[in-house]
Amino acid sequence: MWRVALSALLSHWRRHPLQLATLLLGLALATALWSGVQAINAEARASYARAAQVLDQDRLDSLVPARGLTHIGQDVFVTLRRAGWQVTPVLEGQWSRAGNSVLVYGLDPFTAPAGSLPDAMQGEGRIADFIAPPGLAYAAPQTVEALQGVAGLPPLVATRGMAPGMLFTDIGIAQTLLRAEGRISRLLILPDQPLTRPALTDIAPALERRAPLQQADTAQLTGSFHLNLTAFGFLSFAVGLFIVHSAIGLAFEQRRAMFRTLRALGVPLRVLVGLLAAEVMLLALAAGLVGVALGYAIAAALLPDVAATLRGLYGASVSGSLALRPAWWLGGLAMALAGAGVAGGQSLWRLWSLPLLAPAQPTAWARASARALRWQGAAAGALAVIAVLAGVYGSGIVGGFLLLGALLISAALALPGLLALMLGGAARLARGPLAQWFWADTRQQLPGLSLALMALLLALSANIGVGTMVSSFRLTFTAWLDQRLPSELYVTARDMAEAQRLHAWLEPRSDALLPIWKVEGTVLGGPAEVYGVADHRTYPDNWPLIVGRDDVWQTLARGQGAIVNEQLWRRAGLSLGDAIPLPGGAARPLVGVYADYGNPKGQVIIGVDDLTGLYPDVDRRRYAIRTDPAQVPGLKTALVDEFGLPADNMIDQGRVKEISLMVFERTFLVTGALNVLTMGVAGFAMFTSLLTLSTMRLPQLAPVWALGLTRARLARLELGRALLLAALTMIVAVPVGLLLAWVLLAVVNVAAFGWKLPMHVFPTDWLWLGVLALAAAGLAAAWPAWRLARLSPTALLKVFADER
């Protein structure tokens, strides 16, 4: 009995292979996008964790410079060791040359915690090569590959299991690479300490003890970015589920007659439902496997860009290659099963409550009654209220995404009602029987197409919203860059003595020499940089202030105030006049706020004299040079000739802008790719729905054909109908997309990055998107229409002969 029932049920798929393919593909696509995003996130988190575990830093306390110092002298390390403190030195810094940048991590293998060094370092004879110039640098294989051929680095050794984007070298080699002779970033306190040690305050008062890095700074900084990706993945998954829902619904509807027959033959309802549930789960499992494989491919394709984004935006290094993690692919399968369960649940429930011998009428989709539409409208309204509440009372990125989700789903639910209203209005204006039939028939089909149209709406509004955000951001960002980078050339001396010589030499040869000196530390609980600015008209002329009076710059020059970047201002909820505590204990009142797009860290600016007063050992090797742009090439040549300054120590304005824009473009490359994929899924949903409808609509079309309308004409009308519906959906999508953009710019961006952006609208982009949507709808409708045009008249005649 079981076997017979099963083979009867499965025979349906044999006879409808396209439907089977639709179902599998829909679910696989949904799973793929979701699990692809998850794979990217998992890889990034694993990279952060690996970086945090370097030298057991996630377990060990450390000693860091206190009171405004930027580093520890290496003599302090020796003093501590000779007093009995078991500490190991670490020097960390970014090494950049010719567009390549890598985090150099200098350590002392002699005092590093046992077992914390890469296994590869334990090779025979390696220690001598490691410490003697040029040294050795251990790095993840992909990092070694990325740095192939870059001059100025020690020989690279590819080592599995290391965090990407980092080079491990001996501390002496690192000091040379980073031009930090005699300097240490911090000391790690080893777990085993001897019986007696003097108090730290007696031997090294300029150090501060700090608890282990529980979580890498990068993990905190990038949290919102990953939430962003997750939201996108979820959106894609939801869109994909529309396909699955329609495919499963169709398969159930078409088998109603078979269900009745099976029940009549004595198959218990329980068994029937059980078999169907098992069938759905089996299909979900198969599709899930394909989806996970596809997801892996998507993630592998996108990961390099994501990694580049994270590096550019947050300075976080993420492996560019993907590891297959069980938690991830099991999660993908679970999502596929859950999705299929959600999509098939409604159909199973309907079957469960079906009267035994219910007439096996094909209902061509649950015909949405006025009542169903009202329900949907009410749900849409409720969600809209939730969205408003989330907008008003919500906070942070979770609030932002709640707002987004409620907004999108509310709009999607309201769509069929809106379309019905529009079509009803059009029907009233229609003249002639054919036009009236067209509008009425379109409206009658709405329930069958509404899911696909909702998917299309989601994809379109996401596209408009995200597109508007990215374009607004780009516009603001480039304008801001132009203002923010007024200096023509930036130079970095190799040491202090050279910096002084450079200063003396450049002074008479430039319009102005502006110091770019900074210290790094913690301000108001987060990582921050403190810069000093010279009293020069460059700043009042070019530096865009969000808040602040005209005399801000004079106040800074007098050492009587500080300005902070927007990120810090928003994060800490500051107002003008608040005291800004600086690293080392001093404080300055807040006198202004400036925009600082693309910077994950907080930033404070004070007067340059104030800076050198507070931090006497600040690194003073960097200058910005104001001069006639035409002089720049000559100046660079002269600097090379006079000082032998390496080309990497000079960077001109154009190059800085180029790099900044590159980082920006990369940031949104992934967003763009996900957008395109979502559109693709929506188009596919449309196609499957139309295909489904076309097979069920014969009873409705046959009478019209019989009344004299040719098949070709009918097909053209079908095509026109699809285009019309897509166009109407597009019209609804524009305001929804703009709302979405506003939420992204004003709520999500502020929470994720800390800056708010003005919104710019780009109607031409919508036009293109509209064309794209129409093309997708046209393509989706083309095949069913073509089939209709070629349909054998006997098929249409048969409608009248059938018992129905």
Partner: protein, 355 residues
């Protein structure tokens, strides 16, 4: 004493497989200086480091007694290992590695600690005059009066997580040169080292143990040795004795074990109470394990019979603690011993290369 060839640092970090003798000491010597017979030792210069040679150590052991007669033993060792021949370089890139071992043994247990450092930063090193050998806070510092040998009086300190000691040493006898005026042969094939000792220290000071501070007195023995390839290929390890007899005489004796049993190379020095030293020929000494103990998964001979018939010596040497295992980068056994038989006394035993 060749024995001490031990450890070494050669091996320091990257512990290579021990294919080339214990701790890599059987490696070839390309580029390093080699000991030559007939070279006279010069003091105080030779108390300091010899960076041209691959390995070197300052190796001090002491047999001590508490106020209630409880026996204690301490070890203080600083090893130097050149990571590459030639100019050692400066600062962090200095190719000289240093390793310190310290241990305190009593009848209740054996406690040890290890330190690593590189030369060039000031974290570890040795200066000849005034004499100081240090790594981290561990120090062996000369306290001798002007004109005396800098090693004739020392202060010595070291500590680990569960022990510490702080001792004053003064020698009541001369330096002793082993082998041929300090040229000590280690194998039939001619491998050798420079090797001298100061075995005549009187010690007083304080041990710090979990139970509190313990005042102690006793005697100590310092070994100085440097070489570039002290083991011959095929030599796996050694058993080395430094013994203080109650009558004032002292005995240094070792055997280097070959890979095939029976091919051990034996040597030693008989030191009379007045400090006069007599090298012992390989066949003058009888050394025979009497009992083994399972330590750290290996069978270690912790009871020995030693005989030197020419001097009427026939003694049994018994470890104070069988588990005096140094669980360091290159692990080995090193601990205080009791001597009974014809010449009762105390001393230290070191055993390496047992697998």
């Amino acid at each position: 004493m060749n024995a001490r060839l031990l450890i070494l640092l050669g091996a320091l970090l990257p512990l290579p497989a021990l294919a080339q003798g214990f701790a890599g000491l059987g490696q070839t010597t390309n580029g390093y200086a080699l000991p030559e017979r007939g070279t006279a030792l010069h003091f105080p210069d030779d108390h300091g480091a010899h960076p041209d040679f691959r390995i070197e150590w300052w190796y001090l052991t002491a047999n001590l007694t508490g106020p209630d007669g409880t026996p204690y033993g301490i070890q203080w060792t600083l090893f130097r290992n050149a990571l590459a021949p030639g100019d050692p370089g400066t600062g962090w890139s200095t190719a000289q590695a240093w390793m310190g071992h310290a241990a305190l043994t009593d009848e209740t247990g054996h406690r040890s600690a290890m330190r690593l450092a590189r030369g060039g930063t000031g974290q570890a090193g040795v200066t000849a005059a005034p004499f100081t050998a240090w790594i981290d806070e561990w120090r062996m510092a000369g306290q001798a009066a002007q004109g005396d040998d800098p090693l004739s009086a020392l202060s010595l300190s070291a500590q680990g997580a569960d022990f510490a000691y702080d001792l004053d040493l003064s020698a009541d006898g001369p330096l002793v040169l082993h082998g041929d005026a300090g040229f000590s042969v280690k194998a039939e094939t001619g491998q050798a080292s420079y090797y001298y000792s100061q075995p005549f220290y009187r010690v007083s000071g304080t041990l710090t143990l979990p139970g509190g501070a313990v005042p102690v007195t006793g005697q100590a023995w310092l070994d100085r040795e440097w070489s570039s390839q002290p083991l011959a290929e095929g030599q796996d390890g050694w058993d080395w004795f430094s013994l203080h007899f109650e009558d004032g005489a002292k005995l240094m004796a070792f055997r280097l074990r070959g890979r095939d049993a029976g091919s051990a190379f034996r040597s030693g020095t008989w030191i009379a109470a007045d400090g006069s030293a007599t090298p012992l020929s390989p066949d003058a000494l009888d050394m025979e394990p009497l009992a083994e103990t399972r330590v750290a998964g290996r069978a270690i001979p912790t009871q020995w019979r030693l005989a030197l018939p020419a001097r009427g010596v026939d003694i049994t040497v018994q470890a104070l603690r069988d588990d005096a295992w140094m669980d360091t980068l290159v692990p080995y056994w090193e601990g205080p011993v009791r001597v009974t038989g014809s010449h009762p006394g105390t001393g230290y035993l070191e055993m390496t290369g047992y697998e």
